[in-house]
């Protein structure tokens, strides 16, 4: 049963606004923004839903939340005890023993989530082969449980050495710890993969978040008893609330993941299989590589210096956005960021007291932004741009700095470096990629950046301001089962593959996923002796198929060479189970409001003043072409076109700017 019979609402909670996109058969898609309620996001979610779809029932409510992210950033976490193998009490403090900055003495490592006093060590030991070197005795289990109890935890993390190879010791300990009646996170259940620090860090993050997420989801389900709620995970798929309550570490990139899922769907629907998602907001910019319509998923993310190894879309974030402040340093270079004017006072042109020159002010004085347009939600409270204030702010920079044009050039250099990180540095040629631009500032910079990198095209979706909420409707239910095997490539791994497939499929069913479930296999592999794995898609379900040729191909693509006579190690097997998304592709019939009549305006482009067409996005229909120089305006963003660029509106309502090869 692919088509929902009733309405579904994707609800994404951001820092400032909670966005809702409603899909209902027989209705045009509808998008609503309401203020986020930081203390309890559930209040804002409920308001948004009531506003967007009053009075009628909802069947499904996929949800993007920053609850976990904020709890980690603000350290409002549960008091957690870590149980680990004797001799490794300080695994979190030591981390990988490197310091975060080579030369800057002011930078220090983040404090671990569990202090030394809250760690309990266990006399036991597994070998890499999964045999007990030191058996775990019943007396030891009793002692550990008593010691943990004395520490009065709100949550417990259990992470023993080599538990990925054999989980028996962890299982027995966790079974005994259940008597404490607090959430228990078992590392081998959460992440059966090698590297003790990363696995333990993931496990502890999860444990510290479990009570927080539990509380939030109970609020949410109490306020919205009707629809089935799912939560977006960092890996780009949704999961059931029970799963997320137990494994909240999976939601650390919830909101951004939904955005890149939508960007992938938008790119594909505009005819581009490979793309970069480019989300430029007020204070930061997220970029992510998309291949075959899917965001790249990796297992090496971190939050506030704390690594987690659960699947996460490969988003690279840079601390520069529309609010970033320009300044001239001691060597005479014009710099932009990392300081930001934020939302308060905001850029000088907002007229709220800001006086520092920002990227947005640069756009303002160059005429890229409509001085008469209202900012913020169209509810009459909006304010108009103060062009003079912007000019004054830019004027505070020393004369040779380069002014507004200089600011844009510098911020573009920062963005270009970020985009190279996720493309050329991964061995991907930008000539095969489209840039999907969203966020308030993305479409202003997109075509200039795309040309600098040599991308094929720019795609601006119809509703770039609510792309994450839309992504929730486009994301499948997703679960990834994994296990480290450390086996030669020729080994028959059929049993492990089958066990993982069963586990992944059962988990989705258990979460209430009906309809078709597709399974895909991934193997992390490397040449024997290397220690960085490549993620290989394993298309052939034949049991015992030799995976070595896949590594040779992937290695050649990533690094330019392969070593066919070298033995290959399969490090970790993964099975990804996916359900069907609510929407197979982005909706096409958005209501973008009343178009304003076409005008023209003098704007600054590449050092020249040109007369640009000013076109209302709401008035554009499939097949329309807009030639540059032009400014295409809509409520949540502005798209800028240079003189030789032409934007074409495709069937789905995307603006597509094809660039000369």
């Amino acid at each position: 049963m692919a088509k929902p019979s009733e309405a579904c609402a994707g609800v994404d909670v951001g820092g400032t606004f909670t966005d809702v996109v409603v899909h209902a058969p027989g209705h045009r898609p509808r998008a609503v923004k309401v203020p986020t309620t930081p203390d309890n996001q559930a209040v804002g979610v409920q308001r948004g839903v009531e506003h967007a779809w009053p009075g009628a029932p909802l069947r499904l409510l996929p949800h993007g939340t920053t609850t976990a992210t904020n709890a980690v950033l603000q350290r409002t976490l549960a008091r957690t005890v870590l149980v680990t193998t004797d001799g490794f009490a300080d695994v979190l403090q030591i981390a990988r023993q490197d310091r975060p900055a080579l030369y800057d003495l002011t930078v220090t490592r983040p404090a671990p989530l569990v202090s030394h006093e809250q760690v309990v060590t266990v006399r036991e030991r597994m070998s890499p082969q999964g045999t007990a070197v030191i058996a775990l005795s019943e007396e030891e289990i009793d002692r550990v449980v008593r010691q943990v109890q004395r520490l009065e935890p709100e949550s417990v993390a259990v992470s023993l050495l080599f538990s990925y190879a054999d989980e028996a010791h962890e299982r027995r300990l966790c079974a005994a710890l259940r008597s404490l009646q607090v959430p228990i996170t078992r590392s081998s259940a959460l992440l059966a993969e090698f590297r003790e620090f990363e696995r333990t860090s993931t496990c502890v993050l999860n444990a510290a978040l479990a009570p927080v997420m539990h509380r939030y989801l109970s609020h949410l389900t109490a306020r919205l008893p009707g629809p089935t709620i799912t939560v977006m995970t960092s890996g780009g798929g949704t999961a059931g609330v029970d799963f997320v309550a137990d494994a909240p570490v999976h939601t650390l990139l919830s909101g951004p993941a939904a955005g890149v899922v939508a960007a992938g769907a938008v790119a594909r629907c505009a005819g581009f299989e490979h793309a970069i998602a480019f989300d430029m907001g007020g204070t930061s910019t997220d970029v992510c590589l998309i291949r075959n319509g899917q965001p790249e998923v990796s297992t090496s993310a971190q939050i506030a210096g704390l690594p987690f190894r659960t699947p996460a879309v490969g988003i690279h974030t840079v601390g520069a956005g529309g609010g970033s402040i320009a300044w001239v340093d001691a060597g005479g270079a014009l710099r932009v960021g990392p300081a930001s004017a934020g939302a308060d006072p905001g850029p000088a042109c907002y007229g709220l007291g800001g006086s520092a020159p920002t990227v947005t002010d640069a756009h303002c004085v160059l005429g890229h932004l409509d001085p008469d347009r209202e900012l913020g939600p169209a509810d009459g409270t909006g304010l108009r741009l103060d062009v003079e204030a912007a000019a004054r702010a830019i004027g505070t920079l020393p004369e040779p700095a380069g002014g507004a044009l200089g600011i844009l050039t510098v911020v573009r250099a920062t963005m270009a470096r970020a985009l190279r990180r996720v493309s050329t540095e991964r061995g991907v040629d930008p000539a095969h990629l489209a840039l999907v631009a969203y966020g308030g500032a993305g479409p202003l910079h997109a075509s200039a950046l795309a040309r600098e990198l040599g991308c094929r095209a720019v795609v601006v979706p119809p509703t770039p301001g609510v792309l994450s909420a839309l992504g929730l409707l486009l994301a499948p239910a997703r679960y990834e089962a994994s296990r480290t095997v450390m086996a030669p490539a020729g080994d028959d791994l059929t049993d492990t593959w089958q066990a993982l497939e069963t586990q992944a499929r059962d988990e989705l069913r258990h979460q209430g996923v009906t309809g078709e479930v597709t399974l895909s296999r991934v193997a992390d592999a490397r040449y024997a002796g290397q220690s960085h794995e490549l993620r290989l898609a394993v298309p052939n379900p034949d049991a015992g198929a030799d995976l070595a040729p896949l590594l040779h191909r992937a290695h050649r693509q990533a690094y330019g060479y392969a070593v066919p006579d070298e033995p290959v190690t399969i490090v970790t097997l993964r099975v990804v189970a996916r359900g069907e998304p609510i929407l197979a592709q982005p909706p096409q019939d958005w209501d973008l409001g009343q178009p304003a009549p076409e005008r023209s305006r003098e704007i600054g482009l590449a050092g020249q003043t040109v007369t640009a067409r000013v076109v209302s996005r709401a008035g554009l229909v499939a097949g329309d072409e807009v030639g540059g120089p032009a400014v295409i305006e809509q409520s949540d963003t502005t798209t800028l076109l240079a003189p030789d660029e032409v934007a074409v509106v495709d069937e789905a309502g995307n603006l597509v700017v094809r660039l000369p090869g």
Partner: protein, 524 residues
């Protein structure tokens, strides 16, 4: 001086730094040794046609000043490189630092087709610590070496690739001299791949802005760093400041430095430092220069783009034939990893008199090099350096269990060690109460204990086993480190700071690393 607008400066700085970083990423990802991949014991940099460094990916401080020395040696030997040529070097007396660090330098030309009409754009170079290059003990840092010939294969600048591609004979020579030849071939291949990536990026940049503009940009980013650093040097009071400290060899080897600050110029002179010794702690000048650059960068403008311009206002003098400017045939394996740390302490001691409010107390002052391995059919070569206590700083306590000074390599996870080597890790924890007391206490050292699961050879290279890391401004010193061998029969012996010993199956080595010195009077 080349004038570029503030905007262009920022744009080209990103572009050049991006090329170096991309090389570093390619190197780490494609390499074989855990040294390079897990521990990131490698560096990558971009140079102008004259061999001036214009950008560097920052991984390991000790490579700061020594990468330029390698490129200089290559150009002195071969003149300007021709299209396709890549040159390998590890000779400490000709551009290298210690033998395991292999540097490969490649010319970058406008035309990738290797025609002789192609114009030279600059050079790319990368360095990787290879786990074994032969010599008297696995890991190529034998503690008992009395001359460099005992430390492994010495490679003066030699063509390792030409217009026809990789020179298989040279690669075979290097591989044949290692206990782990397959790994050497893999790591060398990763080094070629990294240069390839850097060259491509530089060529793209040149095709976009033209090679004359590229060369202006290279000069301008160096000028820019120079301006920033000079602005910071002006804040340091003029004067001459002296300090000395010792290496734990025999009765002690003294390193002395005099720091002279005059306006925008800084001169460091190691006159009075003891002569080189027939022990592997000799530092070649490139290492000493790297140490000076490290401390200088940390205390002036740590954020200035790392290139040759950062060090134009810095002069370093060291007497030839001294332990900080060693000459052939002095063994040098540990000069890079141990003596370098002491040189940093001496320089911090000098700066502490000039700008006490900005200088941290001494950190652990050693890298605690631990090498275990064997040759033959079941050959393996495990090399690791261990973190310790960082000195307390004027603004915060020292970090615990962390690498400090001239290195920043990551550890090898126990779950990787036990899969890759016949070793078992029994303990990896902080060493309680080893940090020096202070208003900002020093960080704690580490304890790492490993059991040999087969007969093999152990080498330890460590320092600060007798003379503790000092405190500053009334802060207490950190605890000295200890190396303890526990035989399979339960007997324990404390090992000296340096040595090579046979290990029998069941023996355990426990390294307790030093704590950092405290900063400021302890609060009672």
């Amino acid at each position: 001086m080349v004038e570029l607008s503030g905007v262009e400066l920022e744009v080209f700085r990103h572009a050049l730094a991006g090329a170096a970083e991309e090389m570093g990423v390619a190197l780490r990802r494609a390499a074989y040794s855990p040294n390079i991949k897990e521990r990131a014991d490698c560096s990558a940099a971009v140079f102008d046609p004259d061999g001036e460094m214009v950008a560097q990916a920052e991984h390991i401080p000790v490579h700061l000043g020594s990468m330029p020395a390698s490129v200089r040696a290559v150009l002195d030997t071969y003149g300007a490189l021709r299209p396709g040529q890549q040159v390998c070097v590890n000779d400490p007396y000709l551009g290298g630092t210690h033998l395991p660090d292999l540097t490969i330098v490649a010319g970058v030309f406008t035309d990738s087709a290797f025609t002789d009409s192609a114009e030279l754009l600059g050079y790319v170079a990368n360095r990787a610590h290879h786990a074994d290059v032969g010599g008297a003990a696995p890991g190529s840092m034998p503690a008992n070496a009395t001359e460099i010939a005992m430390e492994g294969l010495r490679i003066p600048p030699i063509l390792i690739a030409d217009a026809q591609g990789e020179r298989a004979d040279v690669v075979a020579l290097i591989a044949a001299n290692s206990r782990t030849p397959g790994e050497r071939r893999g790591d060398l291949r990763a080094q070629f791949a990294a240069n390839h990536v850097g060259a491509r990026r530089l060529r793209e940049l040149a095709s976009r802005i033209g090679s004359p503009r590229l060369h202006q940009a290279m000069a301008a980013v160096c000028d820019y760093s120079d301006r920033r650093v000079r602005a910071a040097v002006r804040q340091i009071p003029d004067g001459c400041y002296r300090y000395c400290d010792v290496l734990e060899v025999g009765a002690g080897v003294t390193i002395r430095a005099a720091l002279t600050v005059a306006g925008e110029e800084v001169t460091i002179d190691f006159a009075g430092t003891d002569p080189q010794i027939p022990v592997n702690l000799n530092a070649v000048f490139a290492v000493t220069q790297s140490c000076a650059m490290f401390v200088f960068r940390m205390l002036t403008d740590p954020d200035a783009p790392p290139n040759a311009g950062c060090y134009r206002s810095l002069r370093v003098h060291a007497p030839e034939g001294s332990v900080v400017n060693a000459t052939f045939p002095a063994p040098s394996a540990a000069g890079n990893v141990e003596t370098s740390q002491r040189i940093v302490d001496v320089l911090l001691g000098c700066f502490a008199q000039a700008i006490p409010e900005r200088v941290p107390a001494a950190s652990q002052g050693t890298m605690n090099n631990l090498l275990i391995g064997t040759g033959g059919e079941h050959a393996f070569s495990y090399y690791e350096t261990l973190g310790g206590g960082e000195g307390g700083t004027p603004s915060r306590p020292g970090m615990s269990g962390v690498h400090t000074g001239m290195t920043n390599t990551r550890n090898t996870p126990a779950e990787a060690v036990e899969v890759d080597y016949p070793l078992r890790v029994w303990r990896y924890e902080l060493r309680c109460s080893s940090g020096g007391a202070g208003a900002h206490p020093g960080g704690e050292g580490l304890i790492r204990e490993l059991e040999a699961l087969t007969d093999c050879t152990l080498t330890v290279q460590s320092e600060r086993r007798e003379h503790p890391p000092w405190g500053l401004g009334g802060g207490q010193p950190g605890a000295v480190g200890r190396n303890i061998l526990r035989r399979a029969d339960g007997t324990e012996v404390q090992l000296p700071s340096k040595g090579t010993w046979p290990l029998r199956r069941g023996d355990r080595i426990r390294i307790e690393t030093p704590g950092g010195g405290g900063w400021g009077e302890p609060v009672t």
